[in-house]
């Protein structure tokens, strides 16, 4: 297990430069799904992830990989413990503030593309930008087009999701995750429903996000080949972190 570099260790009066603070930190996070029988999704996870890391979360099915990712991505709230993004606790944020953090800091890629069927590729990529509303319309359009082109989607910009192939859709989904230039990309089995050629392509893109753009990519995968390409591998069994190796 990585020993977390807790923020408390830093001098409280001197605000630490952002780069020295872990980007995402999990402190003793446990998530229990209450029901007739309580199900423990993840238990006692302590984890620090820094900028520029390429992390694979592996484990058998039902081991809590995706649950961990959802907790990292503020889609779910821990039953106990805390998730800190850029040094800020998220458990005491209100719902709107967590949504805003997701919008600006985190980009999601799921196993299924989850594009909105009524919008074009460009329209889908522009949705998070329009929600954030930081850029004027024309610049949004320009930036969205650039991202799509950089992912090899020239000529597909104005097509609707149903007119695109599976690999293309997944690349549009990645473009959408990148829309607001978030430091973290969270991917949940991004290649799970793709053929091997498209899988390789998508993984190449994820790798380049880390290598050339300095983003943090955390991906859940059960594909050992893909996992092997990541520089840090976290292995979960029954909701507990059993190994955390860095290459």
């Amino acid at each position: 297990m990585t020993s977390a570099a807790p923020t408390e260790a830093l001098s409280p009066d001197a605000a630490p430069p952002p780069s020295t603070r872990p980007l995402i930190e999990l402190r003793d996070v446990t998530r229990i799904l209450s029901g007739v029988v309580d199900t423990t999704l993840v238990r006692d996870i302590d984890l620090c992830i820094d900028r520029g890391e390429f992390v694979a979360v592996t484990g058998p099915s039902g081991s809590g990989k995706s649950s961990l990712l959802y907790l990292l991505g503020l889609l779910d709230l821990p039953t106990s413990g805390d998730v800190l993004i850029d040094g800020r606790s998220t458990t005491d944020m209100d719902e709107a503030e967590r949504a805003r953090t997701r919008l600006a800091m985190l980009g999601f890629v799921f196993q299924f593309h989850f594009l909105l069927p009524e919008f074009t590729a460009l329209g889908n990529v522009m949705i998070p930008m329009r929600k954030l509303g930081r850029l004027p319309e024309r610049q949004m359009r320009q930036r969205a087009t650039e991202i799509l082109l950089s992912l090899g989607l020239d000529g597909q910009v104005d097509k609707r999701p149903e007119q695109l192939s599976g690999g293309q859709r997944q690349r549009v989904a990645i473009a959408r995750a990148l829309a607001n230039d978030p430091p973290v990309i969270l991917a949940d089995e991004p290649t799970g429903s793709l053929d091997s050629k498209s899988s390789t392509q998508v993984f190449d893109i994820l790798q380049s996000l880390v290598d050339t753009q300095g983003r943090t990519v955390i991906t859940v995968t059960h594909d050992p080949v893909a996992a092997a390409r990541c520089r840090r591998r976290i292995h979960l069994v029954d909701g507990r972190m059993v190994s955390d190796e860095k290459v």
Binding site: A99, F110, F112, R130
Partner: protein
């Protein structure tokens, strides 16, 4: 375009047919509300106007609201007096000239007509009919009633200066078999009989009056009823109709006999208008409520169908408030479209009703149109109600959409 609005539009355009059905539902509600309001308020106003035009605003009679106390009761300090023969009081408003002067003093600018009403029997060629005989001053009477408009043959003015002239209802003339120019005889309970020449026939549409009312000069009536210089009714038109009640109260206080305003005389009628309005707004409310259910239904369907999109939008960083806004806007869009279409429909229906002609048969054929009252207030009320109910109908499923947990949906999909 605003992103939330954009997404809301794609949702309802994706269910165009169902959206249109919902819009039509709201439009029907709004349209019928507008048309019905125009008709209801129109007919009500028409009725009141006709009523106000036809009747005196304040009617002063020689009656008392309570029986006069007997002089004996004042003379003896007794608790109760039995077997008292009431002193006979000369009926009628004494000194009509003074009464009229007082009334004119109370209602400056008002129109006043004094008359004497009594019962008599008209006879012509062996046929007898009971008549309510009114002695009038024709010129003053024309100013306070609509009898002038009801004259079918001859004229009311022909009464002026003619002591032996009479104007009777057309049905009464038919019953008697008399025509304009014929001479009928009228007798009263005083045993007096006088012959009158028919100088006018009227048709008021009120059967009781057409069959049994007659007008003669006040002087002639005073002779027939043996009540020289007496009147028992003073009809007053006030310049401001809303003052009628106050004027009636004042006149009654100053003169001491009963004065009724038109509102008091038709109290039950006016309250029936309120009941009619309550019924109308209940029916219209029910239509709009059903339309609201239609909107609730479509927005609920969309929320259910778009659960995946809701999940993904939330994972992208949409907050619960944004999700609520999307679905409330969907309801409101349908409501606004429905209100607009309904306003057009309501306008068309109103104009269509305006084209309807009625033939009312009664003596002569009258052609009437439906009375309509067109007001933007009706559009505002119906449209406003539709939009508010649409927003509520959208809000209920929207609340559900806001509570969607993205994790549940995404987990289910993978």
């Amino acid at each position: 375009m605003n992103l939330v609005l954009d997404i809301a539009l794609t949702h309802i355009l994706g269910r165009l047919r169902q959206t249109l059905v919902s819009v039509v539902g709201v439009a029907l509600g709004v349209g019928f509300t507008v048309a019905m309001s125009a008709l209801m308020v129109g007919s009500q106003n028409d009725f009141v106007t006709q009523l106000i035009d036809a009747i005196p605003h304040v009617n002063l009679t020689d009656e008392q609201r309570d029986a006069k106390p007997q002089p004996a009761a004042a003379a003896f300090a007794a608790v109760e007096i039995h077997g008292l023969r009431p002193s006979e009081d000369r009926r009628g408003l004494r000194n009509p000239a003074e009464v009229i002067a007082i009334v004119r003093g109370i209602v400056p600018g008002g129109r006043v007509a004094a008359s004497l009403i009594g019962q008599g029997v008209a006879r012509y060629g062996g046929t007898d009919i009971a008549m309510s005989l009114t002695g009038i001053d024709p010129r003053a009477e024309l100013q306070v009633t609509k009898i002038g408009e009801d004259i079918r043959e001859g004229s009311l003015e022909a009464l002026a200066g003619a002591q032996d002239a009479i104007v009777i209802g057309d049905a009464a003339a038919r019953k008697l078999g008399a025509r304009l120019g014929d001479t009928i005889s009228v007798s009263t309970s005083k045993g007096l009989l006088k012959r009158f020449k028919i100088v006018g026939l009227f048709h008021s549409g009120v059967t009781a009056s057409d069959e049994g009312a007659a007008f003669v000069l006040l002087k002639s009536a005073q002779i027939l009823f043996d009540r020289a210089n007496a009147v028992n009714q003073v009809k007053i038109k006030v310049p401001d109709i809303d003052q009628a009640r106050a004027v009636a109260t004042r006149i009654e206080r100053e003169i001491g006999t009963k004065a009724t305003s038109w509102e008091e005389a038709h109290e039950s009628l006016l309250s029936s208008f309120q009941i009619r309005n309550v019924i109308m707004y209940t029916v219209v409310g029910a239509i709009l409520l059903v339309a609201g259910f239609g909107i609730y239904n479509i927005v609920s369907t969309i929320v259910h169908e778009k659960a995946r999109d809701i999940a993904i939008l939330k994972s992208l960083g949409f907050a619960e408030g944004d999700m609520r806004a999307i679905f409330v806007i969907e309801g409101v869009i349908i409501g606004v479209l429905g209100a607009l279409a309904g306003s057009a429909l309501g306008f068309a229906l109103t104009e269509l009703l305006g084209l309807v002609k009625f033939e009312i048969k009664g003596g002569a054929v009258e052609i009437t149109r439906l009375p309509l009252y067109r007001s933007w207030v009706h559009y505002a009320i119906a449209g406003g109600f539709a939009i508010v109910s649409a927003a509520v109908a959208g809000y209920l499923p929207a609340r559900k959409a806001a509570k969607v947990k993205p994790v549940d949906i995404i987990r289910g999909a993978t």
